[in-house]
C-alpha cells in the first residue's frame, strides 16, 4: 500500500496550484497549431503523385478532379482516422491513468486494446462481417472484459505499477495468443488481419470514421463532465468519499467511458499501440511549466490532442522515412508502439523504488516442504516427462503405437513409420529441451528480480533474441544453426545489457528492472512485426514462429545449441543455488553473509539470457513457460533453488512437450504453434496466480 501514496501525491499536488488561465490557453493554442501543421504535412503524403501544390491549387479552387477525389477518398479518411484514434486513445489513457492513480495505466497496459481486437477477430473468424457500429459494440465488450480482469487483478491499479503492468501485459499476451490462434485456424476468413492487428490507418472510405466519431465525441464529453470528480478522486478514495464523491460509481463510469473510447479506436484502425500511454505522459511532462494542466478538465482534452500528435506524427515520420508505399505496407501502430515503448522505459527509469513493500512477495516464495515431498514430486515429474515424450512421439496426424517406437529405436520399423518418427523426434527433443531451458532461465530471473512474476520474456531477453535471429534470417536466409543461435545470443545479451544498464540507477531495483524489461520487450515485438511485414508480408509461417514459438520443421542440429547451453550453464546455476536462495530474500541478507550481490546477480542473469537465446533460436519466441514452470515448482517443493531448479526444468519440459503434442494433433493436418498452446495453458494459471497474491496482499 505504500505505493499508493507517491502516486496519489503526484497527481494531487498540481491540483492545489493556482490555475494560470492564459498559460493554459497558450498551451492549447500551441498544441492545436502543432496538430494543424502535422495534419497539413500528413495530407501531402500518399501513394499517388498528388502533392502539396495540387492541394494548394485545390484550396484556391483551381484543382483537378483527381486531386479532389484523392483528398476526399484517401487522404482525408486517413487523416481523420488518425485524428480520431489519437484523440480517443489520448483521452482514454489519461482517464485510465487517473482512475488507476498510476502513470503506467493505458488501454494497452490494461489489455483493453487486446481484448477489443480479440472480440473483433472472433467475429471475423466465424465469417460474420459486422457493420462498423455493431463491430464497435463487440470491441467494447471485449475491451471491457479485459480491463475489468486486469483492474481486478491489480487492485484497480493502486497496488503499484509493476503489478499493473505485469497483469496487463500477461493478459494482453494471452489474448493476443487467442487472436493469433483464430487467425491460424480461420486463415481464409481473416486474410491478412495480421498487419491490421498492429494498427493500420489505411482507409478506403469515411464509414468507419463517421460512425465512430459520434461515439468518440460522446465519450470525450462524458469524460470532461466527469473531470471534477476525477480531480477529487486524485486526492485519495477516503478524501473523495468525505467530499461527497461516490467513489465506486465514479470509477465504474470512467472505466466504461475510457473502454468505449479505446474500443472505438480499435474498430477504426485495429490496436494502435501505446498512444494512450504516451499522450498523457507528454502532457504531464509540460505540466510543471504550466500550473493548472493537471486539472482533468484541461488534462483530458489536452491528452486527446497529444494523442492526435503522436498518431499523425508516427504516420508522417513513417512515410517520410520509407516513402508513401510504406504507409500502405507497414502498420502505423508499429511506430507508435516503438515510441510508446521508449516512453514506458523512460517512465520506469524515473519510477522511484518503493523499498520495503517488496517483501510482500514472500507469501509466494512457497512454503517449506520436506525432502520426502521433493523426492516424490521429482519422481512423479520424471515419469511425467517420459510420458510426455512418449505421447509426443505417438501424437500427430496419425497416432502411432508404442510398438512402432520400439521398432524405430531398434531400427526395425517400416519406411513410413521410420520417416514419421525421424521427423517427429527433433520436434519432440526441441520442445523438451527448450521447455527445460526456459524454465531454468525463468527460475533464475525470478530469484534475481525477487519477483515471482518476472520471466525472461518480460525482461525483454526473449524478444531481443527473436529480433537477432529474425534479422539474421532475413539478411542471410541460408544462415546455419550456429550463425542463427550466435546472433540470437548476441542480441539477447545486448538487450539484456541494455535493460540492465537503463535499470541501473546507483543500484538495481528489481521493480524498475521488470518495468523497463516490459518496455523493451514491447519494442522488440514491434521490431519483429516490422521486420516480418517489411521483408515478407505474406509469410504467415515465419510470423508464427517468431511471434508465437513453433517446433515446425526443426532438425536435430538446431537443437544442439540448446542442449549445449543446458549442459554447460545449468551446473553454474546449480552451483550458485545458495546465492540464488539468498538473492530471492532481499538485498541486505546476502550482503551481510558476504555474497557479492551485483556480481552474482549479473552472472545469474547472464546464464539465463544465454539459455533463453538458445531456446529462442531453436523454437522462436515462446511465452509463459519461464513464468509458470518455476512458480509451480516453488508451490510444489518450496523456495530452495536446489529443489526449484530441477523441478522447474522438468515441469517446463513437460509443459512445452504437451503443448506441442496438442498443437500437432487437434487440427491436423494443419497445426497450431506450440507457443500459442503454452500461452493458453499458461495464461489461466498466471491469472490464478495474480488472483491469489492479490488476496495475500
Amino acid at each position: 500500500m505504500t505505493l499508493l501514496k507517491p502516486a496519489a501525491a503526484q497527481t494531487a499536488v498540481p491540483v492545489a496550484q493556482p490555475v494560470r488561465r492564459i498559460r493554459v490557453a497558450g498551451v492549447f493554442l500551441l498544441t492545436i497549431a502543432a496538430v494543424v501543421v502535422l495534419a497539413g504535412v500528413h495530407l501531402t503524403q500518399g501513394t499517388s503523385s498528388i502533392g502539396a501544390g495540387d492541394l494548394l491549387r485545390l484550396a484556391i479552387g483551381q484543382g483537378t478532379d483527381d486531386a479532389a477525389s484523392v483528398l476526399v477518398a484517401s487522404r482525408l479518411p486517413r487523416l481523420l482516422a488518425g485524428a480520431l484514434v489519437g484523440v480517443a486513445l489520448g483521452v482514454a489513457g489519461a482517464g485510465l491513468q487517473s482512475l488507476a492513480r498510476n502513470p503506467l495505466a493505458s488501454p494497452d497496459t490494461l489489455g483493453v486494446n487486446a481484448g477489443a481486437y480479440l472480440a473483433v477477430v472472433v467475429f471475423a473468424a466465424f465469417g460474420i462481417s459486422l457493420p462498423t457500429l455493431p463491430a464497435g459494440g463487440v470491441a467494447f465488450l471485449g475491451g471491457l472484459a479485459a480491463a475489468v480482469l486486469v483492474l481486478a487483478l491489480s487492485a484497480g491499479g493502486t497496488s503499484g505499477p509493476t503489478r499493473l503492468i505485469l497483469a496487463g501485459s500477461a493478459i494482453a499476451m494471452a489474448l493476443a495468443g487467442f487472436t493469433t490462434l483464430l487467425l491460424v485456424l480461420y486463415q481464409e476468413e481473416t486474410v491478412g488481419t495480421f498487419a491490421w492487428g498492429s494498427g493500420s490507418l489505411v482507409q478506403t472510405d469515411l464509414d468507419a470514421v463517421t460512425q465512430m466519431a459520434p461515439i468518440v465525441a460522446l465519450g470525450i464529453i462524458a469524460a470532461i463532465l466527469l473531470a471534477p470528480k476525477l480531480d477529487i478522486l486524485a486526492l485519495g478514495d477516503d478524501t473523495a468519499s468525505v467530499l461527497g464523491v461516490n467513489v465506486r460509481r465514479t470509477r465504474m463510469v470512467i472505466t466504461l467511458v475510457t473502454v468505449m473510447l479505446s474500443a472505438a479506436a480499435v474498430t477504426v484502425a485495429g490496436p494502435v499501440g501505446f498512444v494512450g500511454l504516451v499522450a498523457p505522459v507528454i502532457v504531464r511532462l509540460i505540466a510543471p511549466l504550466v500550473p493548472g494542466l493537471m486539472r482533468h478538465r484541461v488534462l483530458l482534452p489536452l491528452s486527446g490532442l497529444a494523442g492526435v500528435i503522436v498518431v499523425l506524427g508516427a504516420d508522417v515520420v513513417l512515410r517520410l522515412a520509407l516513402g508513401g508505399k510504406a504507409g500502405v505496407e507497414i502498420p502505423t501502430g508499429i511506430v507508435t508502439m516503438l515510441v510508446g515503448a521508449i516512453v514506458l522505459v523512460w517512465l520506469a527509469r524515473r519510477y522511484r523504488d518503493s523499498g520495503p513493500s517488496r517483501t510482500a512477495s514472500g507469501s509466494t516464495r512457497g512454503r517449506l516442504r520436506s525432502r520426502r515431498t521433493f523426492v516424490i514430486v521429482a519422481g512423479v515429474l520424471v515419469v511425467l516427462v517420459i510420458g510426455a515424450a512418449i505421447v509426443a512421439m505417438l501424437a500427430g496426424d496419425a497416432w502411432l503405437r508404442t510398438g512402432d517406437i520400439t521398432n524405430w529405436v531398434s531400427g526395425r520399423s517400416g519406411r513410413a513409420i521410420t520417416f514419421v518418427l525421424d521427423q517427429r523426434f527433433p520436434r519432440v527433443v526441441s520442445a523438451l529441451l527448450c521447455g527445460a531451458a526456459l524454465a531454468i532461465a525463468g527460475a533464475t530471473v525470478q530469484a534475481v528480480c525477487r519477483n515471482p512474476l518476472a520471466e525472461p520474456g518480460i525482461l525483454g531477453i526473449t524478444g531481443g533474441a527473436g529480433v537477432g535471429a529474425l534479422l539474421t534470417l532475413i539478411l542471410a536466409p541460408a544462415a546455419g544453426v550456429w550463425l542463427l543461435s550466435g546472433s540470437a545470443a548476441v542480441a539477447a545479451l545486448a538487450t539484456f545489457a541494455l535493460v540492465y544498464a537503463i535499470s541501473w540507477r546507483g543500484g538495481l531495483s528489481s521493480d524498475r528492472l521488470v518495468l523497463i524489461g516490459v518496455g523493451v520487450s514491447a519494442a522488440a515485438t514491434a521490431v519483429i512485426t516490422f521486420l516480418i511485414v517489411y521483408s515478407d508480408p505474406w509469410n504467415v509461417a515465419m510470423a508464427m514462429t517468431w511471434l508465437s514459438g513453433s517446433t515446425y520443421g526443426r532438425t536435430l542440429p538446431q537443437v544442439v545449441p540448446v542442449a549445449i547451453a543446458l549442459v554447460v550453464l545449468t551446473p553454474f546455476l546449480v552451483h550458485a543455488r545458495r546465492e540464488l536462495d539468498l538473492l530471492s530474500l532481499d538485498d541486505d541478507v546476502p550482503r551481510i553473509l558476504g555474497v557479492r550481490l551485483e556480481r552474482t546477480r549479473l552472472f545469474a542473469l547472464l546464464c539465463s539470457a544465454l539459455l533463453t537465446a538458445a531456446a529462442v533460436s531453436a523454437i522462436g519466441v515462446l511465452g509463459f513457460v519461464g513464468l509458470v514452470a518455476p512458480h509451480a515448482a516453488r508451490a510444489l517443493v518450496g523456495g530452495k533453488h536446489a529443489r526449484v531448479l530441477p523441478v522447474a526444468a522438468l515441469l517446463g519440459a513437460a509443459l512445452v512437450s504437451f503443448a506441442d503434442s496438442i498443437g500437432r494433433t487437434v487440427i491436423a493436418p494443419a497445426q497450431i504453434p506450440a507457443g500459442l498452446v503454452t500461452s493458453m495453458i499458461g495464461a489461466p494459471y498466471f491469472v490464478y496466480l495474480l488472483w491469489r497474491t492479490r488476496r495475500a496482499s
Partner: protein, 323 residues
C-alpha cells in the same frame, strides 16, 4: 548389386505389408516409363528416382495444376479447399488428401501417403525441405521469377513432367499454350487493340482497410498480357519473384486510362472492387471506371498457375479487352 538390393527391399516391403501393392504394379502406359529418372531442380540439386514418380505430393498450387494437366493426379496437396476455390483449370479428384496449410504442411500427413516424390517451391523454408528430403525425394521448383515469368512457368512444367515421366505430354501442353497465346495475340491485333493499356490487380479487405496488389510486367499474368500485345499501365516495380506491387486505392490514380482487369473469389475474400470500392470517390473518378473499362475476370483463374490457368487468363483478358 543395386538392383538386387532394390528388389530385396521392395520384396521386404510387400512382405511386411508396409507398402501398398499399388507401388509395385508397373505403369500401364508401357515399359519405357520404368527407366530411372534424374532431374536437376531449382536448387541445382540432382533428384534421382528409380522410376518416374506416380504418387506425388505437391505443396504449391501451380505444381498441382501442372501435375493434373499432365495426367498425374497427386495423392496429396496442401490446402485442398483453397485449391478448389482458386484453381479451376485442373480439377482435383475428391480422393486427393489434404496435407495441411501451404505455409506449414504436415510431414506426418505427407509421409502417411507414402509418396515417391514431393514437389515444392523455393519459398519453402530450407529446414522443412531438408526434413522432407529425409523421408522422400523432394523436387524444388522456383515458384516464379519476375525477370523471366513465362519461361519459368514452362521450365517448371518441364521439371515436373520429367519427374513423372510425361515429357511428351508436357511438350503438347506447352505447344497448346503457345498456340493459345498466339491466337490471343491475333485476336487482339484483329480487334485493333495492340498497344492498348491494361492493368491487372487483386485485392483483400482487412478490417476497414482494403489492400491491393498490382501485377507488374514481371508477374506471370503481366508478362502474358505483354505478349498478347497489351501495354501494362502500372510502371512501378514489384517483388523479385512474383512481380507483385502492393498499393492502396490512392495508388490507382497513377494508372492511365485503359482496361482494368481484376480477379476476386466469391468463396474467399469476395469482390473488394465491385463492393467495397464502388462507392469510393477516387475509384469513381478513375478514368477506366468512368469509361466502364473495369473487368472482373471469372473466379478461379489461378494467378500463379501453369499453362492451363494462364490459358484461362488469356481467354478472359482477350474477351475483356476486345469486348
Amino acid at each position: 548389386m543395386r538392383i538386387t538390393a532394390l528388389a530385396v527391399a521392395s520384396l521386404a516391403l510387400v512382405l511386411t505389408a508396409c507398402g501398398s501393392s499399388e507401388t509395385v504394379t508397373p505403369e500401364p502406359e508401357g515399359s519405357a516409363s520404368v527407366q530411372p529418372v534424374s532431374v536437376t531442380d531449382a536448387r541445382n540439386k540432382k533428384v534421382d528416382l528409380k522410376a518416374p514418380a506416380t504418387k506425388v505430393v505437391a505443396l504449391e498450387w501451380g505444381v498441382v495444376e501442372g501435375l493434373v494437366t499432365l495426367g498425374v493426379m497427386p495423392v496429396g496437396i496442401a490446402d485442398t479447399k483453397g485449391y478448389n476455390n482458386w484453381v479451376t483449370a485442373a480439377k482435383l479428384d475428391p480422393s486427393v488428401k489434404d496435407v495441411g496449410t501451404r505455409g506449414e504442411s504436415s510431414v506426418d500427413a505427407i509421409v502417411a501417403l507414402n509418396p515417391d516424390l514431393i514437389i515444392t517451391t523455393t519459398d519453402e523454408a530450407p529446414n522443412t525441405i531438408a526434413q522432407l528430403e529425409k523421408a522422400v525425394p523432394v523436387l524444388v521448383i522456383r515458384g516464379s521469377d519476375a525477370k523471366n515469368a513465362i519461361p519459368q512457368m514452362k521450365t517448371n512444367l518441364d521439371l515436373v513432367a520429367q519427374a513423372v515421366g510425361k515429357t511428351d505430354t508436357a511438350k503438347t501442353v506447352l505447344a497448346d499454350f503457345d498456340k493459345a497465346l498466339a491466337e490471343g495475340k491475333q485476336k487482339i491485333t484483329a480487334a485493333g487493340k495492340t498497344g492498348e493499356l491494361f492493368t491487372m490487380s487483386d485485392g483483400y479487405k482487412q478490417g476497414s482497410t482494403v489492400s491491393l496488389r498490382m501485377y507488374t510486367t514481371g508477374s506471370l499474368l503481366g508478362a502474358v498480357a505483354t505478349e498478347l500485345g497489351l501495354k501494362n499501365g502500372w510502371t512501378g516495380a514489384g517483388d523479385k519473384d512474383y512481380g507483385l506491387a502492393p498499393t492502396d486505392i490512392e495508388g490507382l490514380t497513377k494508372i492511365p486510362n485503359g482496361n482494368f482487369l481484376y480477379i476476386a473469389n466469391k468463396n474467399d475474400g469476395g469482390d473488394v472492387f465491385g463492393e467495397d470500392l464502388s462507392k469510393n470517390a477516387i475509384w469513381k473518378n478513375l478514368p477506366f471506371v468512368k469509361s466502364n473499362d473495369v473487368h472482373r475476370l471469372p473466379d478461379g483463374i489461378w494467378m500463379f498457375g501453369g499453362p492451363k490457368s494462364t490459358e484461362q487468363f488469356i481467354d478472359a483478358a482477350v474477351e475483356a479487352v476486345t469486348s
